[in-house]
């Protein structure tokens, strides 16, 4: 798989032509020298183009802590792996090559599945974003794949031409184009890293390895980061509402804040956060296909719980109009929150989202306006 063919004038139609020179610099497995001091780099293996870092296949508490921080949206932007070529075990020229994103979680998931094997791992520069999002954004792309194979001098290290990419990378990588430009045949492997060992052993994908899943576990994993994001937004709205609700007909007072400002603000926060929590976990069981519809149902349940709590006398004093306002606000808020979930679920189409937003958004805006009017009437007029 040298770029220079021994018979320059002959080109078998099945064989790719010499790689176009996209990359001009010197070949280097990993260009960032900081790689050698990374905690998960456990050694080096010499190759014709230089030393390749060997990575550990066991995740340490530090890796897990990092993953945990990402899930709670703490400093997630710095969670990157230097792009380049890495080794697992002691690979040789016949060992398989696996491509992945330079999002540390993707990389960790992959290397932890490769225990006891010899393989090359090609980390593409996806700006620290996972495979799927990167493919959709265009960073996990044919261009980057070609550039990275050339920059690492991969063709001088292995004697075969098969590169295994995660299947979801197919959104950004065209196997045909990658082959003509880099000389490597891209094989789309399993969607999930956990299926990689079996894929390597059997050499083919079983039907279940093709499909994305969105099981309860996957959805629960999403909850923390969504909670943090929404809590930020909701706390602003809650604070504003709490101040507004502290005003009574007699003006603003500490009593007003304690008796209605604080409860109103907390209700707002509760409305949003319960929608995130229950929405993510109960998603497939909520009625309707449109997410906004699922959300409205969820909000209705929250409203019922709210009315019951008021009747029980446990959430402060509200006028009937205020209660009516909240009963409209809950479904609207939950409907909007769940509609936003379309961005993190792996089965929503653009056409569907467009269909849904066009119908649901006007209703949501009208709903929140009605709720606000009822609430204001309840507070200041009735």
């Amino acid at each position: 798989m040298e770029a220079a063919s021994t018979q320059p004038n002959k080109c078998c139609c099945r064989k790719p032509q010499a790689a176009t020179a996209d990359y001009a610099g010197p070949c280097q497995p990993v260009s960032d020298p900081a790689v050698w001091s990374l905690p998960w780099v456990v050694g080096r293996i010499p190759t014709p183009v230089g030393d390749v870092p060997i990575v550990s296949t066991t995740l340490t508490w530090r890796d897990r802590l990092g993953a945990w921080k990402v899930r709670w949206a703490i400093g997630r932007m710095s969670f990157r792996v230097p792009p380049g070529l890495y080794a697992v075990g002691s690979p040789d020229e016949n060992s398989p090559i696996l491509a992945t994103a330079n999002y540390k979680l993707s990389f960790d998931q992959l290397r932890s599945q490769l225990a006891g094997r010899n393989a090359w791992v090609l980390v593409l520069d996806t700006k620290g974003v996972n495979v799927w999002c990167a493919a959709a954004k265009g960073t996990f792309s044919t261009d980057e794949l070609v550039r990275r194979t050339q920059a690492t001098g991969l063709a001088k290290i292995v004697s075969h031409d098969v590169l295994i990419a995660p299947q979801l990378g197919a959104v950004g990588v065209s196997a045909g184009e990658a082959r003509t430009r880099s000389g490597f045949r891209v094989l789309f492997g399993p969607v999930r890293a956990t299926d990689v060992p079996q894929f390597l052993d059997d050499g083919f994908k079983s039907p279940s390895m093709h499909l994305v899943r969105f099981a309860l576990k996957d959805r629960v994993t999403l909850v923390p980061v969504e909670l943090v994001q929404w809590a930020r937004k909701a706390s602003v709205a809650s604070a504003a509402l709490a101040i507004l609700a502290s005003f009574g007909r007699e003006g603003c007072s500490w009593e007003g804040f304690v008796s209605s400002g604080l409860p109103s603000g907390l209700l707002m926060l509760f409305a949003v956060l319960s929608a995130v929590l229950f929405g993510a976990t109960l998603l497939p069981w909520l009625p309707g296909r449109a997410f906004s519809c699922k959300g409205a149902w969820l909000g209705a349940c929250i409203a019922v719980a709210f009315v019951a709590a008021v009747a029980w006398g446990s959430v402060g004093r509200f006028t009937p109009l205020e209660i009516a306002g909240w009963c409209i606000a809950f479904p609207v808020i939950a409907s909007y929150v769940l509609m936003d979930f379309t961005g993190v679920t792996p089965y929503t189409s653009v056409s569907g989202v467009r269909w849904e937003v066009r119908r649901a958004l006007p209703l949501q805006i009208a709903g929140i306006a009605v709720a606000a009017i009822l609430w204001l009437l309840g507070r200041f007029v009735a």
Binding site: V70, R71, R76, L105, S106, Q109, N130, V131, W132, C133, A135, A136, K137, P166, Q167, L168, A170, V171, G172, V173, S174, A175, G176, F188, V191, R192, A193, P207, H210, L211, V212, R213, F214, D218, T221, L222, V225, P284, R289, A290, F291, M339, D340, T342, G343, V344, T345, P346, Y347, T348, S349, V350, S351, G352, V353, R354, W355, E356, V357, L361
Partner: protein, 97 residues
């Protein structure tokens, strides 16, 4: 996709049977199991499961597939309407792989 179905009858996916050579690439890359091969031609088997990711169209060597692909994300869509820009995915979500 096993119990999850989004809005039906809106997906923009088409296959030009005349161009299709039955290479199975679309079957291989589709994460939703939308295609089956019948008589050496790709058939859309579960149209409503398509999430318009565009992987099939990108990897079909004969350009037999068209799909209006994009990000199925309400936030991106609303933002693009409000600010008059292209929908962009600043998702930092964390799906499998």
């Amino acid at each position: 996709m096993n119990g999850f179905q989004y809005i039906s009858g809106v997906v923009s996916l088409t296959v030009d049977e005349a161009k299709c050579v039955g290479c199975r690439m679309c079957v291989n890359v589709c994460p939703q199991g939308v295609f089956v091969i019948e008589n050496r031609k790709a058939k859309i088997h579960r149209r409503d499961d398509c999430m318009e990711c565009g992987a099939c169209a990108k990897n079909c060597l004969t350009s037999a597939i068209t799909v209006q692909c994009g990000i199925g994300c309400a936030r991106a869509l609303i933002r693009s309407v409000v600010f008059g820009t292209e929908p962009t995915c600043d998702c930092s979500g964390d799906s499998a792989a």
